[in-house]
């Protein structure tokens, strides 16, 4: 065990893991986080807490993660390299580990020009791969970025994101390989609507021997409406939404109901993909759906490990 | 520096503007147009934004470029270049709070003198015209 986190134990025991996302509030009200944590607790193995997602200022992921712990929901603390240099990243990780945070997802982060503070100076002292390597060395070798010994290593389960549909096409699997080399223990993928294409990516990864070293969890985004599907298809970089999905959403009488149905089908399909060890359900602003969706998908009760 | 106070300065293409404004019909042009000074260019493509600004600095009330319509230019892109140059001057004028209608562009054909002079007269009475 690298961290002894619940997520790590579930994955290592060979269970089909379930994570979801919790978006911290734009404000200092901790009760909002606690309420969401109570809603999600027991329905997932851990919940990602986003770090100023889309470069819009919100409560810090580290603060929200601590509140989640108080409520008994295990956090996967997301950390982007956009806003912190290596000094701040190491220090925040030590603080987070000291507070009992055991899962960290390393991300580059959306560019600040897309968020609400486009005037901000970007940092990107290091990228997400370098962040993974740095945190892995902190954990496994007990040293910081310059090789100085830490009095106690942070016990953290290290995650990274991957996009099976990302550009450039020829580089998709190499990029995954690099994340694993750098130190990723688990991977949460970008949203998947085309399981066949996801399987091709997984197969290539398996052929390159990557899947023995890492737990890959497929990403799910339940759709609320045809408009949302179209928006994602046209406007969001790196997301692949097949036309059939948009068509289905358009034809449906009730968008949310159809979106839920599609999500259930996708979860079912992902369970059969070789090497896929779980699902990561992103339903920000629709967290209420998680308990129902996991129930209907037969993912409950979550294993006690 | 202000010796051109109040007059209109015309930069013209020698193929299109000179026949209308300087040669045989030059007299007619002077009858129909307010006081102007004509400055010949080999082609409107050589109209430099600085020429226009200098002309205004000399005191000209307005500056207009006269040349061939697009497609008829012997040097192919003269009128497009003149339009770009005047567009730039217009931006500069606007930046310092001046009216870009002090400058204009009249394009036509030398065989259509009347129409050209009418357009110039219109520009002169409006105290300027529009650069598209």
């Amino acid at each position: 065990m690298r961290s002894g986190s619940n997520l790590e134990k579930v994955l290592e025991a060979g269970h089909f893991a379930v994570t979801c996302e919790l978006g911290p509030p734009k404000g200092a009200d901790g009760e909002e986080v606690r309420e969401l944590a109570r809603l999600l607790k027991g329905n997932v193995d851990a919940a990602n807490v986003t770090d100023n997602q889309t470069a819009v200022v919100r409560m810090s992921s580290i603060g929200a993660a601590r509140l989640m712990l108080d409520e008994g929901l295990e956090p996967v603390m997301q950390m982007v390299t956009r806003d912190r240099n290596r000094i701040a990243i190491q220090s925040d990780i030590l603080g987070a580990a000291a507070m009992g945070i055991k899962n960290v997802l390393c991300l580059t982060g959306d560019h600040q020009s897309l968020g609400n503070n486009p005037q901000a100076k970007s940092v990107w002292d290091i990228d997400s791969l370098q962040q993974l390597a740095m945190l892995k060395a902190m954990r496994d070798e007990g040293v910081d970025a310059v090789g100085e010994e830490l009095k106690r290593s942070p016990e953290i389960f290290l995650g990274a994101a991957a996009n099976p549909f990302g550009d450039p096409t020829s580089f998709r699997v190499t990029r995954l390989a690099k994340k694993i080399t750098a130190g990723a223990d688990f991977i949460q993928t970008q949203v998947i609507y085309d399981v066949a294409r996801y399987e091709e990516w997984m197969e290539e990864a398996r052929d390159r021997g990557l899947l023995d070293k890492v737990h890959v969890m497929g990403g799910i985004v339940p759709l609320k409406s045809a408009g949302a599907a179209k928006y994602m298809q046209k406007m969001v970089a790196g997301i692949y939404v097949p036309d059939e999905v948009v068509k289905r959403m358009k034809a449906a009488e009730k968008g949310k109901k159809e979106g839920r149905k599609i999500a259930l089908e996708l979860i079912e399909q992902l369970r059969t993909v070789k090497g896929n060890h779980g699902v990561h359900i992103m339903a920000i602003m629709w967290e209420k759906l998680i308990p129902k969706l996991t129930e209907e998908a037969g993912l409950l009760p979550r294993p006690k490990v | 520096m202000h010796d051109k106070e109040g007059i209109m300065i015309i930069f013209g293409c020698k193929h299109t503007a000179t026949p209308i404004l300087e040669e045989a019909s030059g007299r007619e042009a002077r009858v129909h147009l307010p006081d102007f000074e004509y400055r010949e260019l080999p082609c409107l493509g050589s109209l430099d934004p600085l020429m226009v600004l200098r002309a205004l600095d000399e005191g000209a009330r307005s500056v207009v470029a006269v040349g061939c319509f697009q497609g008829r230019c012997r040097h192919l892109t003269g009128s497009q270049r003149a339009k770009a140059a005047l567009g730039h001057v217009g931006d500069v004028l606007e930046e310092v709070g001046l009216d870009r209608s002090m400058i204009g562009l009249v394009l036509g054909s030398p065989i259509d003198q009347r129409a050209m002079i009418e357009q110039l007269a219109k520009f002169a009475t409006n105290d300027g015209g529009d650069v598209e």
Binding site: D127, P168, A237 | L50, L56, E95
Partner: protein, 231 residues
């Protein structure tokens, strides 16, 4: 070259408000090439400010001059007569030129007429593009001659990020994804395997993060003490 954009003329006009004799000084090197602050732009600026003043009934002397390079004292000295006559100088050089003017002529008031933008190239007539951030530790040999620090919006050394789509950057569809360019280039020259390696964090102390930088060549300076006898 170093590129810049002329400041809005109203901003320049506001800076020189109240001065009687205003010199607009162009720079004949980089900013001439990128058509931002050379002799032509200096004349244009002087003409525009003069027209503006006349419209408002303000009479003051505004003229222009140009030197080869404002970042070298020997060239700046060529402007000494102009400078002596001016109450204020608007320099159309990059920030280096403005600062060097102040150093060479300590009593002079010099204001910037340009917003200095980047180090770049002429992509096509009328189009300039950023190419170098002067990080002090060039990696172009590893990235096929395409700079990840400059041409990736996030300066990633192990890109691309998830925002790369159809060859474009997430910041703006008109910006090519730097990492797509790197991958294409490495593929073309048969060096794609270079990307298997995870590049370590960059040593930013060699960049401006390490403080303002100097470059010294002692041989050129030649100011070391010499002793008598064989050396």
């Amino acid at each position: 070259m170093i590129t810049g954009d002329r400041k809005p003329l109203e901003e320049i006009a506001a800076m020189v408000e109240g001065f009687e004799r205003v010199l607009i000084l162009g720079c004949g090197t980089c900013v001439t090439v990128c058509m931002a602050g050379g002799e032509r732009e200096a004349e244009e600026t002087a003409l525009a400010l003069r027209l503006r003043g006349r419209e408002r009934g303000v009479s003051r002397e505004i003229w222009y001059a140009n030197v080869e390079r404002q970042c070298d004292e020997e060239f700046l000295q060529e402007a000494v007569d102009h400078v002596a006559r001016a109450d204020v100088v608007v320099s159309l050089a990059c920030g280096c030129g403005v600062q060097h003017m102040v150093t060479v002529f300590p009593d002079l008031i010099v204001y910037p007429g340009l917003n200095t933008t980047f180090m770049g190239v002429t992509e096509e007539l009328g189009v300039w593009a950023e190419r170098c951030l002067g990080c002090g530790d060039c990696v172009l040999e590893r990235t096929g001659g395409v700079c990840p620090i400059t041409r990736c919006s996030k300066s990633l050394l192990n890109g691309p990020c998830g925002g790369s789509a159809d060859g474009a950057c997430e910041v703006d569809k008109t910006i090519p994804c730097g990492w797509q360019l790197i991958i294409d280039r490495l593929e073309a020259i048969g060096q794609l395997q270079r990307l298997d390696e995870v590049l370590p964090p960059k040593d930013w102390s060699k960049s401006h993060s390490g403080g303002p930088r100097f470059r010294i060549r002692e041989d050129v300076r030649g100011t070391d003490d010499v002793e008598e006898g064989a050396q």
